[in-house]
């Protein structure tokens, strides 16, 4: 009995500040959907609008095809897990979990059964009579999840639920949450600023920035085809280089199928890099490429070159900082298993871009070109 969730031109203003600006998309029934973005991007505001804690200034929220704008929070039948868990400190674990069922005036026996089942599912049945203060962060997290799920909500909302846990536990809980979500097949909207968490857990991700959605897609799409410069910079590590888009000229290497002049980017004092596209526009651009998509080679004529300025050995890979001509630097990752050479600071190296993984954006707006 899960619902789909649809936003229609949803807007939230705080005075002059627009926290959520015309959001317009749908979340499918049973989907694990993550809203990802830096703090202050409006993601928590959006979540609280779904929960009914924030008023809606403009637009609509629909569960399936029912408009929810005027339904008070306590009638939405939503399960919510809070960042700090919000466990009732004056109730035992069992009472915490039973709270929502009591509100629904279920028979005592039913409540006891469902609470028992849920505590078992969450592996916290042995703490049932403890006070919340006696539980660790991870256990409290499980209580919060049990309390939200036991009411059989039609939608589960989670607001940065793992941010207070230590690194190891966070990864365990990621898996636990994901499994339970799939078992129950419940539409889940998950808010986080942690891109790794988002990539690991989600069916789809919406990347938000300054109140607007920059991109919606599967983790793979978001990572490999960032729609905007912001997404490219926010997800993973990305090198940005300033340059000018122009015709490839005589040194063009790539042949592009189809008509039109092959395009190339002229990076200041570095040289021209052919890009795998036709030239459809020209002018200043930003070129984005991830550290693992650049390779170091012996310097050779007619190829971009640079000088190693920092070497960081990280076990399975080596991270280099390379200074190109004109003062721009790039980060390059080389996997230890792929290379025999460990370069030193000061070495001159040739730079090879994995041309298929280059992305071009307009400098001002950050929107993708081509």
């Amino acid at each position: 009995m899960s619902h789909s969730v649809t936003f229609r031109n949803l807007t939230k203003r705080y005075g002059d500040n627009t926290a959520v600006d015309g959001i317009d998309f749908s979340i499918k029934e049973g989907e694990f959907f993550t809203i990802l973005g830096p703090s202050g991007c409006g993601k928590t505001t959006l979540l609280r609008m779904i929960a009914g804690f924030n008023s809606i200034e403009d637009g609509q929220i629909l569960f399936d095809d029912r408009v929810m704008n005027d339904i008070p929070a306590y009638q939405r039948n939503i399960g919510m897990v809070f960042q700090n868990y919000a466990i009732f400190p004056h109730m035992t674990i069992q009472k915490n979990v039973a709270y929502g069922l009591k509100a629904r005036k279920l028979p005592k026996a039913d409540i006891a059964e469902r609470v028992g089942d849920m505590l078992k599912l969450m592996h916290i049945e042995k703490y049932r009579d403890r006070d919340p203060s006696q539980l660790s962060g991870g256990q409290q997290q499980r209580v919060a999840l049990a309390r939200a799920l036991v009411i059989h909500p039609t939608i589960l909302l989670m607001d940065e639920p793992l941010s207070n846990l230590d690194a190891k536990l966070r990864i365990d809980m990621r898996i636990a949450i994901k499994k339970i979500q799939k078992d129950l097949n419940i539409t889940t909207i998950y808010v986080t600023h942690d891109q790794e968490e988002a990539l690991a857990m989600s069916d789809r991700i919406a990347v938000m920035n300054a109140g607007v959605v920059e991109q919606i897609g599967t983790p793979l799409e978001i990572y490999s085809k960032p729609a905007t410069a912001f997404v490219a910079g926010f997800i993973g590590t990305t090198n940005f280089l300033d340059g000018t888009l122009s015709g490839a000229g005589s040194s063009a290497v790539t042949s592009v199928p189809g008509a039109g002049e092959p395009a190339a980017v002229d990076i200041r004092d570095v040289g021209k890099i052919p890009v795998g596209a036709r030239k459809t526009t020209s002018g200043e651009i930003r070129l984005a490429i991830r550290p693992e998509d650049i390779h170091l080679a012996e310097p050779s004529e007619g190829e971009p070159q640079g000088r190693v300025t920092l070497v960081t050995f990280l076990g399975d890979y080596i991270s280099y900082e390379v200074e190109l001509g004109g003062g721009q630097t790039v980060e390059v990752n080389e996997y230890a298993k792929d290379t025999e050479v460990l370069r030193s600071v000061g070495d001159r190296v040739g730079i090879r871009f994995n041309l298929g993984k280059l992305h071009l954006y307009r400098p001002g707006t950050g929107e993708a070109i081509v």
Partner: protein, 564 residues
């Protein structure tokens, strides 16, 4: 998983506008506002406005203020009040701060005994101090007579010096409490850093330790100043010809027909303005020098050698003994045989028997009034703090400022304001229990609000959202979660208010009638009837009640804490 929809009956969806009934909190805010307008704004604005009207022509005029500032008798009372309060504040600080330093930083003997003595000294109203010191050092005082026998005539205790003595000994514990709290909350690494940077001990004190605790010193000092400025039991007993503002207000107001209500209003306005001014200065100091500190490692207690240790112990004992002297005197004299106003040798329970005959009503009244007041305080504290903290709006900040206003109103002015407002239709309350309870609640409102907002700030707002999202409507959510979490803290705060309420004199003395006298009123009138024995017995009962209340308070605050 498929599951039956068990959500509560879900209201009609859609975007059509519905008439919404006003939310619970709007009703609460408006009710509180209405009560504050009736019992706070109306009485005091009419009292203060009166001072701007000509007594005969009833036109707007400054004639009352001109009278006040040009008539030496009245103007001198202002000078007297400010002189006594300012000097008391200085002396109390000069005693309180070193005492706090000695007690927190050195290994003096008998710390717990000293602390108990200081807490005990705080418990009784100031006028009991005045009365005890008169018993010792007054015209027919025990010590006075002792010295007379060996031919030494002690300087008189009546007038300026007496007030200063009583106020200082009574009020320095406030400074002591605030400052010792701050000193033991100071991380030891701060002082270690200063030493490490080459500061000598004295210079470290002057450049680091004291500047850092300035906010706490000023917080204690402002309590001392306000209390000494507002108190009128003490000057009434001991000041005699040295008139201070609250006494003149009381006299002008109480001398039924001959009194001048306009002048009393003017004097009240002047006191409140003085209090406001001092409060703003203190707030300004604190706002500029407020440091947040929490002791990761509390400061070390220095181990002293025998000589210095004995010296500091002796000083600390002497000071706290002086502070608690009134309590001891009262307690002993309550068991001394009396013949009329005179104490005779031998002990008896006569004084207590006398109370049983005449004054048991006052004892019952005291606890009855304070109990009603405490219940109202808890409810108001719960609702008002919630509105102020969680439902921020123009209305809630108005409620906040209104509730804080009584902080600068002395008890006697409060009493006068209420009595002039409610001795006529439409609302006649004079002589009733209601008016006394109202005065207690108003008087404590700033403290209730401050302590309950502090409690509320420690409760996570998402607790309520969790409850709401689980299907419990907002109002029921409040009573099932936040209210339950606030109660223990609120209650322990309210017991402190209860202690002050059972000891209240200034406003009760103006508001009481034959049937609504309290213990403190009875003590006061007994003293004026020269029945020192019964006065002492009543004061002892009051002290015992206070101590019992504080023990309950410790049980509540030391016990289970549900705050996360």
């Amino acid at each position: 998983m498929s599951s039956p929809a068990i959500g509560p009956a879900i209201g009609q969806g859609g975007t059509r506008r519905r008439w919404r009934k006003p939310s619970f909190w709007i009703i609460v805010s408006l009710t509180l506002l209405a009560l504050m307008i009736v019992f706070l704004v109306y009485p005091f604005s009419s009292l203060f406005l009166k001072s701007f009207y000509h007594p005969e022509t009833h036109r707007l005029s400054f004639v009352n203020f001109i009278d006040f500032f040009t008539t030496p008798y009245y103007f001198n009372t202002l000078k007297h009040s400010l002189t006594v309060s300012a000097l008391t504040t200085v002396l109390a600080t000069l005693i309180g701060v070193p005492m706090a330093y000695i007690m927190t930083r050195f290994n003096v003997w008998g710390k717990s005994v000293i602390n108990i003595m200081i807490v005990l000294s705080l418990l009784s109203p100031p006028f009991i101090g005045a009365y005890s010191w008169i018993l010792l050092l007054g015209r027919n005082g025990f010590v006075t007579n002792l010295f007379e026998q060996i031919g030494i005539v002690l300087p008189t205790i009546y007038g300026f010096q007496g007030m200063l003595l009583v106020f200082t000994l009574k009020l320095f514990p406030f400074v002591y409490m605030y400052v010792s709290g701050a000193l033991s909350n100071m991380d030891s690494s701060l002082e270690e850093a200063a030493e490490n940077l080459g500061m000598s001990r004295i210079r470290k004190l002057l450049t680091l330790t004291f500047p850092v605790i300035v906010p706490s010193i000023s917080a204690g000092a402002i309590v001392v100043f306000m209390t000494s400025l507002a108190d009128f039991g003490t000057p009434l007993l001991i000041a005699e010809g040295y008139k201070v503002l609250p006494v003149v207000v009381y006299e002008e107001f109480m001398s039924d027909i001959g009194g001048d209500v306009y002048l009393a209003s003017t004097l009240s306005t002047v006191i409140v303005l003085c209090a406001l001014l001092v409060l703003f200065v203190q707030k300004y100091i604190v706002s500029r020098k407020n440091y947040r500190m929490s002791a990761l490692r509390p400061p070390a207690v220095q181990k002293l050698k025998l000589g210095k240790r004995s010296l500091l112990t002796a000083i600390a004992f002497a000071v706290s003994l002086l502070a608690v002297t009134p309590q001891i005197v009262v307690f002993i004299t309550s068991f001394i045989k009396t013949r009329g106003p005179l104490f005779v040798s031998g002990f008896s329970l006569d004084s207590y028997r006398a109370i049983g005959f005449k004054l048991s009503k006052n004892i019952a009244n005291t606890f009855y009034f304070a109990s009603i007041a405490i219940v109202i305080m808890v409810v108001v504290g719960l609702l008002l703090s919630y509105v102020v903290v969680r439902r921020r709006s123009v209305l809630s900040s108005l409620l906040d400022s209104l509730a804080m206003f009584p902080y600068v109103i002395p008890g006697s002015v409060l009493g006068i304001g209420l009595i002039t407002a409610f001795n006529k239709a439409p609302l006649i309350l004079t002589g009733t229990v209601t008016i006394i309870v109202v005065s207690y609640v108003i008087r404590k409102l700033p403290f209730i609000l401050r302590s309950s907002t502090a409690i509320l700030y420690q409760i996570d707002p998402s607790i309520e959202e969790a409850s709401i999202s689980l299907g419990v409507p907002p109002m029921r959510t409040f009573f099932k979660t936040t209210a339950v979490l606030m109660l223990p803290g609120l209650f322990s705060g309210a017991i402190l208010s209860w202690v002050q309420t059972i000891n209240e004199l200034s406003s009760t003395l103006i508001l009481f009638s034959g049937k609504t006298g309290t213990i403190s009123v009875a003590i006061f009138t007994e003293i004026f009837k020269d029945s020192f024995g019964t006065a002492a017995a009543l004061a002892s009962i009051l002290s015992v009640a206070t101590v019992v209340s504080l023990i309950i308070f410790n049980k509540f605050s030391g016990g289970r804490s549900v705050m996360m």
